[in-house]
């Protein structure tokens, strides 16, 4: 799935206009004895059909990546590996789905899934939905959903991964994704450039109990940084700009759970998709598509549009392109996020487009405003203003990411007698 998915990214990223770069990756080892392990990984990779794999000695490695630690002994090089912006990819897919008629219901909790004669009845916090088929892509909650309808219970463990993000001035320190030798907890802490030119270190891997706990911890961040320091010759700690955590959906049986539930025909799982789930995603989708098409035998839609155009990226344009953009819409001449060079035009577009942003983090993930070295210090108040204006809501209703995550609580002097 990983190898297959990887090959689909060039076309997908072009059609949906999200950033993808084939940068290559290196699995480094720190002693000659470990080269044996690299050879095993090489063999395994070749069996999976991955092209261009080879073992690289220290001299060549240091030429390819001069900023690696002097302790590296050798590496396994995979030239086909690539990096994407995971949230831009997800948003691109969702926007394209809307374009093609998919309806999204947010803030809707699935409470029960029942098999009925002609399909399923889904009981949600917002009412009942009747459907012929269900695709379970509920991430770390996919076990709860599956277990509502199938007796073949599955169990998903939230596995926390913590990351540290570094300033763009360090983006050029390495040009490939650097792994260390994988452990039984997964591929380990990697050091990688991001598609936007930052340096990213992580993730850690720790099984936890709470499926909603995305807090970072002192121990986690310290571990990630220490592993990063092992890979790199130098890691300036004063260049960290942010840290964050996420949860992988780790299945107890250690493998992706993809396919129709045996005792609930029409209920299809895409569950336990932990790393390398992102690379495998397009291939998993194809597998599921085949099951659905086989079952429902739908007509091919003539008006299906595979193309989605992203928000114009002022920061990546030539001055001539910028000039034209501003002529057509002066809002693109007003830079609101100075660190990432994001214009008001981009922010407005992110709010107005299909499935547009309605929160500060929504705008951030669509435009990068607030993702730079000042971390929203200067642009937050501006984005809050634009959100209130474009959504026509009071400024105190603007949230960071929905719910009770309000950014401002009240007017000055409220509550003073």
């Amino acid at each position: 799935m990983n190898a297959l998915g990887n090959q689909m990214f060039d076309k997908l990223s072009k059609e949906l206009d999200f950033p993808f770069k084939r940068t290559g990756s290196l699995v480094v080892c720190f002693s000659i004895d470990e080269i044996e392990i690299l050879n095993r990984l090489l063999k395994q990779g070749e069996e999976n059909g991955i092209e261009g794999l080879r073992i690289i000695n220290k001299d060549e490695l240091k030429k390819m990546e001069p900023n690696l630690s002097d302790d590296v002994a050798a590496a396994l090089y995979a030239p086909t590996a690539g990096i994407v912006c995971p949230y831009e990819m997800t948003i691109a897919l969702a926007e394209n789905a809307v374009e093609n008629g998919v309806e999204f219901k947010f803030n809707t909790l699935v409470m029960d899934v029942k098999k009925v004669s002609d399909g399923f009845e889904i009981k949600t916090s917002e009412g009942k939905i009747h459907t012929r088929m269900v695709i379970n892509a509920a991430g770390i909650f996919a076990d709860n959903i599956n277990n509502m309808v199938s007796r073949n219970n599955i169990e998903i463990i939230p596995r926390k991964g913590e990351y540290c993000l570094f300033d763009k001035s360090l983006g050029g320190v390495i040009s490939r994704t650097i792994f260390q030798i994988p452990t039984k907890m997964g591929k380990g802490v990697l050091v990688t450039p991001t598609v936007d030119g930052n340096l990213l270190i992580g993730p850690t891997a720790l099984n936890i109990l709470d499926k909603e706990d995305v807090t970072t911890t002192n121990e986690g961040l310290e571990y990630a940084l220490n592993m990063g320091k092992r890979t790199l010759r130098e890691l300036p700690m004063d260049k960290i700009i942010s840290s964050f955590a996420g949860l992988r959906a780790h299945p107890v049986n250690n493998d992706f759970i993809i396919g129709e539930a045996e005792d609930a025909k029409g209920f299809i799982n895409a569950a336990g998709i932990e790393s390398p789930g992102l690379s495998a995603a397009p291939a998993i989708a194809k597998t599921i598509e085949d099951i659905v098409v086989n079952k429902i035998k739908p007509n091919i839609r003539e008006d299906y549009n595979p193309i989605r155009k992203g928000i114009p990226k002022f920061r990546e344009m030539s001055n001539e392109e910028r000039e034209n953009l501003i002529k057509n819409n002066p809002a693109f001449g007003k830079i609101v996020c100075r660190c990432e060079m994001i214009t008001e035009g981009e922010v407005i577009d992110s709010i107005k487009r299909p499935l547009g942003a309605s929160t500060l983090d929504g705008v951030k993930r669509r435009t990068r405003s607030g993702m730079g070295r000042c971390q929203g210090g200067f642009c937050t108040s501006r984005i809050v203003d634009i959100l209130a204006r474009e959504l026509n809501i009071p400024i105190t209703d603007v949230t960071k990411f929905g719910g009770e995550s309000r950014l401002l609580t009240n007017k000055n002097k409220d509550g003073i007698e």
């Binding site: 807090t215 911890t217 100075r338 929203g376 400024i395 990411f401 009770e404």
Partner: protein, 423 residues
């Protein structure tokens, strides 16, 4: 392509004073570029008083202080562009800027004055673990919400860091109806001005906890509280000293960083200590004809000193245009040693010193009853007794021009803190 004699990047206190000083020297082809929608820079949100005691001998608010310069800019008809952001400077001193009206502007400048100011250190930079919920702001961001927009970021506040903006915001939030529970400082001393601790914390009974830090942040959507802990002498949290403080807002006042991304575009190296460019007695950077002043150079506590420094930068830029300035020859290197973190300027050409020169610096620790010593090569020339020296307050030593003539061969001036009298 537009051509100007002097381009000033930034319309805050530094840029305004520099531009006026250029104009006073008889240079007319000046342009100020400002990214905000009005001149004045960060002073516009500093509505408290205490500005101008040195320059105007009276106490002004931030906007009042700024207005005095804005009025003179208008009187002198010095051109400026608002809502305009510089996105590049190249080595030929061609500046690229963007706004909604002109689109992409290219401006060829004979001389450039860098006056972009600084930014606040964000949460990420100090890596506080925990939730990434709403309610965590840098103090300056909160100040903008309260003082410019009229909205409060929260009701129950903990402030991390005793920098001046944090102290000022402790008082502001209190006056606007919030409860400020405490100010937490990692170091055993404050990084803010003494007068701000008295007027902003003591007068409002707000506790200041030294040698403490925030070790965890709790809250799913909106902040619910922070865990603080005492730290040891290596600034590591001491296990067992944790204390949970319920609050809906955490303000960070944990340092300012000169904003020099454009300076780097021009190929100018930055000092590892100040994060700003190094300059000589004329506020000139290593790049010929590019000057710097204000917080882009090093972080100041008092705007009055920014103004003084900027007047000098403006004057030097004008002299550069007129060709009357003595070019860099063999400059004396100014060294910071023994408790002195850095100096500005870092180089001095004595020929360009008019009557005297102020060397500004910060110390790296708290010193009582000690001396600031200035050495010309090996010879001790100036020794000033100081009852107290603290990292939070910028120090100045003034060297008269005639002292330089005593040491025509001098290569190094060294500034040290010496003789802690109490041992």
């Amino acid at each position: 392509m537009m051509e100007v004699d002097v381009l000033v990047i930034g319309g805050g206190p530094a840029g305004l004073a520099a531009a006026l000083s250029v104009k006073e020297e008889g240079i007319n082809n000046i342009l100020i570029i400002e990214r905000e929608d009005k001149l004045g820079g960060i002073l516009n949100q500093c509505i408290h008083n205490g500005f101008g005691l040195h320059i105007f001998k009276e106490e002004l608010t931030g906007p009042e202080y700024a207005q005095r310069f804005i009025d003179r800019i208008e009187e002198n008809k010095i051109p400026y562009k608002l809502n305009t952001m510089v996105i590049n400077i190249n080595k030929e001193k061609i500046v690229t800027a963007v706004n909604s009206v002109d689109g992409v502007l290219e401006i060829k400048a004979k001389s450039i004055i860098l006056a972009m100011g600084c930014r606040e250190r964000p949460r990420g930079a100090i890596n506080i673990p925990g939730s990434r919920c709403a309610g965590i702001y840098s103090a300056g961001t909160a100040q903008k919400f309260v003082n410019i927009k009229g909205y409060m970021p929260g009701k129950e506040v903990v402030i991390l860091g005793s920098g001046d903006i944090g102290l000022i915001m402790a008082r502001r939030m209190t006056l606007e109806g919030a409860k400020v529970k405490c100010v937490i400082e990692l170091m055993p001393y404050s990084t803010g001005l003494k007068r701000n601790i008295v007027q902003c914390l003591d007068d409002f009974n707000i506790p200041l906890k030294f040698s403490h830090t925030v070790v965890n942040i709790k809250g799913k959507e909106r902040l619910q509280g922070v865990t603080i802990a005492k730290v040891d002498e290596n600034r590591k949290p001491i296990i067992g000293t944790e204390e949970f403080i319920p609050c809906d807002t955490l303000l960070l006042s944990v340092g300012l960083i000169p904003e020099n991304e454009l300076t780097k575009c021009a190929g100018i190296k930055l000092s590892k200590v100040t994060s700003g460019p190094e300059v000589n007695e004329s506020m000139e950077t290593e790049a010929d004809g590019i000057f710097a002043c204000g917080n882009v150079l090093h972080v100041h506590d008092l705007v009055d000193y920014v103004t003084m420094e900027s007047i000098k930068a403006g004057k030097s830029a004008a002299e550069y245009i007129k060709g009357s300035r003595i070019k860099n020859k063999k400059a004396i290197v100014v060294n910071a040693q023994c408790g002195v973190r850095y100096t500005v300027p870092q180089y001095i050409n004595p020929e360009n010193v008019k009557d005297n020169i102020d060397i500004r610096f910060r110390v790296s620790n708290l010193y009582r009853d000690s001396y600031i010593c200035v050495y010309f090569d090996e010879r001790l020339e100036i020794k000033i007794k100081k009852r107290i020296l603290t990292p939070g307050e910028m120090e100045t030593v003034t060297i008269r021009k005639d002292v330089f003539s005593k040491y025509p061969q001098c290569k190094n001036i060294t500034i040290k803190v010496e003789g802690d009298l109490n041992g």
